[in-house]
């Protein structure tokens, strides 16, 4: 089934690249959404089985796949609005839509793969498709963003490959050459610890480019800034989750070896540094899109702190990435309507958004509340659990430092968002402001509401899926 999915999706991508007819291209996009939905349903029905040797419909994969398929619908919708508003030439429209479909396909396959090399291959494909999306505007800034993204991702992909090589050396001591996660787990006691440490360092560093963590986070920021916002929404939510999957599946293996404490230390240091870096940038950032992107770094730092703390932190980490995907993508989807009013990214030239588009302003306000993890946001629950896990792990000083950093982030985020919403921008001529339809904000409200619902009143199946993805971890 996965093979059929990949073949049909690739066929759609090729058709999108080749065809130029407007109606045909958009109906192909619609067709892909139906196909993605059908595949997701099929994946849920075949829960727990292995397909085409390298893909398993396990709980973590299914959970994130459903998240992706939900976010893909508004992403396609807003891409449609974006393209129609910008009068894109047929060629650039085709490339944009084709790359978008390729990105969604690669992320889906990456979630489900049970073999580290296959995850790696699909991560490579996401780099390819994301770079085409980033280069969409074809100007100097887009080129700079694309170049940085491609170069850093190429290096990090090489790092993951080196990690895989070290892992295979480690596995040779166990007398095996099968690099699937399940086999690694079976042999985890016999793996050579030195090579395993090297492997973890390289694989972790490599995947941080996608996850958005220190040291490789810079590429993602430029990418989300220069890519069109609907594509940026995918990069800021589901693509980050792919990085998380890559790290987390390997982390499960290493957690079953005596190296658990060392791995926790590595992850914890990277997570704390990410929070620190996010704070520093949040305090001085004046570009709305980059502000959203840095907020993503902050959240991924919190998620990885949960993983490092262990215990209830594992549960909270997975809850957090799912909820964060909904919240952050809705903020990015709203961005284009903001830009349409002010024609500017810089916060100094934006202001009093409530006057021009009250519905959209509500999205920004609710998105800020959700992203800052204030109740009733769903992220409040997961962040609270992560703090609790830090407390349980007796990391009280880390907790205090984290809370201080978060306070600064919320202060800075809030200051900027309230400036955007209420304070009039100097010298802004509002005679030419185009009116935005309130219906364009509907999908954002739905996504934010989903995050609240899943956080405050999680359905039993959701809780069970998260718990099942943690069964292999020693608690």
């Amino acid at each position: 089934m996965v093979i059929t999915y990949l073949i049909v999706s690739v066929a759609i991508v090729i058709c999108l690249f080749v065809l130029r007819n407007r109606g045909l291209v958009f109906s192909l996009l619609g067709l892909f959404l139906v196909w993605q939905g059908w595949f997701t349903v099929q994946a849920c029905l075949h829960f727990g089985t292995t397909d085409a040797v390298y893909f398993t419909y396990d709980s973590l994969g299914i959970l994130l796949l459903v998240t992706l398929s939900i976010i893909a619908i508004p992403a396609a919708l807003h891409s449609y609005i974006y393209i129609e508003n910008h009068y894109e030439p047929p060629r650039s429209r085709s490339i944009y839509l084709g790359s978008l479909v390729l990105l969604i396909m690669a992320i889906s396959a990456g979630y489900l793969s049970n073999h580290i090399a296959v995850t790696w291959i699909f991560t490579e494909i996401t780099t390819l498709s994301a770079s085409a999306l980033i280069y969409h505007h074809r100007n100097k800034l887009a080129l700079e963003g694309t170049w940085k993204y491609v170069f850093i991702c190429a290096i990090s992909i090489t790092f993951i490959f080196i990690g895989i090589l070290f892992l295979s050396l480690s596995l040779q001591h166990a007398g095996s050459d099968d690099l699937s996660f399940s086999n690694l787990l079976v042999k985890s006691k016999e793996l050579n610890p030195v090579w395993l440490q090297m492997a973890f360092l390289f694989i972790f560093t490599g995947f941080t480019a996608k996850l958005g963590l220190v040291p490789m986070f810079t590429a993602g920021i430029d990418a989300k800034d220069t890519a069109p916002a609907p594509a940026g929404a995918l990069m800021a939510s589901v693509l980050m989750n792919l990085g998380f999957v890559g790290i987390f599946r390997f982390y499960i293996v290493i957690a079953n070896t005596p190296l658990l404490h060392w791995a926790k230390l590595v992850v914890g240091i990277a997570a704390f540094l990410s929070l620190f870096v996010a704070t520093v940038y949040m305090l001085k950032v004046k570009n709305v899109k980059r502000m959203f992107a840095y907020s993503g770094i902050e959240h991924m730092g919190i998620v990885m702190l949960g993983v490092a703390a262990g215990g209830i932190g594992y549960y909270a980490a997975i809850l957090h990435i799912v909820l964060h995907a909904f919240v952050k993508s809705s903020l990015f989807f709203q961005y284009n309507q903001l830009y349409r009013v002010f024609q500017n990214k810089s916060i100094t030239h934006i202001g009093n958004y409530f006057k021009y588009n009250p519905t959209g302003a509500m999205v920004l306000l609710l998105g800020f509340i959700s992203s800052a993890a204030m109740p009733p946001s769903g992220l409040f629950v997961s962040e609270f659990l992560i703090f609790k896990s830090l407390f349980d792990a007796k990391q009280i000083f880390v907790l205090i430092a984290v809370l201080l950093l978060l306070t600064m982030i919320i202060w800075s985020f809030g200051k900027n968002i309230f400036k955007v919403l209420f304070v009039p921008a100097e010298g802004f001529d509002d005679s030419k402001v185009v009116r935005t339809s309130p219906w364009e904000s509907l999908s954002q409200f739905l996504l934010l509401a989903t995050a609240v619902y899943l956080g405050l009143n999680p359905p039993p199946i959701f809780v069970q899926l998260i718990k099942e993805s943690l069964t292999l971890l020693p608690l």
């Binding site: 190429a154 090489t158 080196i162 895989i164 090589l165 030195v194 800034d225 220069t226 001085k284």
Partner: protein, 210 residues
């Protein structure tokens, strides 16, 4: 024989550290491709002939012909000046490269593993870190690309060390090599040459937070 080749490979790194002209870098990259060709030929004796032929073809055609020719074409097409313009003097470069190699030798001595030939480990990691060093200390974007090619070569050496047991990984490495090189070289160097007149990293600083 393999050891001799790999030691020559390390020497090329030292040469690269003090080279001044971009053409020298390109020639060294081509030489590294040829060296890797012979290393593959002697090292991968146990894998099936078709796969071996494919890997040999990749090293000789892609690493030592296609990439260098394309790089020199880019140099001419974009009128890039021939100096490498390092941030640090050559002497410091040489000292740092030496210390990279020495540290890797020390690490390899500490690790001790029967499954891995020590020299492969030293060469691979030295090349990797030297590539990163090259990227960090040269001003032009094209030297960044060359640094990346050096990293690729280092990774390739590492994959050869376990190539007999896991030929699949060597093929994956080649896939990475071709994929990333084509992506980086083919698409973007052309565009960057068109848009940025003098290709220099200082021009890539327009994406700001404010």
């Amino acid at each position: 024989m393999i050891h001799v080749l790999l030691i020559i490979f390390i020497i090329t790194l030292f040469y690269m550290a003090i080279a001044n002209r971009l053409m020298t870098y390109i020639k060294v990259l081509a030489l590294q491709g040829v060296l890797l060709f012979f290393v593959v030929f002697f090292q991968l004796s146990k894998i099936d002939p078709f796969n071996l032929a494919f890997i040999l073809l990749e090293t000789i055609v892609f690493k030592s012909l296609a990439v260098p020719i394309f790089l020199s074409y880019l140099l001419k097409r974009n009128n890039i000046t021939r100096e490498a313009e390092p941030f640090l003097p050559n002497f410091v470069s040489l000292v740092i490269t030496t210390s990279i190699v020495v540290v890797n030798i020390l690490i390899a001595t500490v690790i001790k593993d029967d499954h891995l030939d020590k020299i492969f480990f030293v060469v691979a990691l030295s090349t990797l870190f030297f590539g990163l060093y090259l990227i960090a200390t040269r001003r032009k974007i094209i030297t960044h690309v060359m640094g990346y090619m050096v990293i690729e070569n280092g990774v390739f050496v590492l994959s050869l060390a376990i190539g007999n047991e896991m030929p699949l990984l060597v093929n994956l490495g080649i896939m990475l090599d071709i994929f990333a090189s084509v992506l980086i070289l083919g698409i973007f160097m052309n565009k960057i040459g068109d848009v940025f007149k003098d290709v220099d990293v200082d021009q890539l600083s327009n994406l700001k937070d404010y």
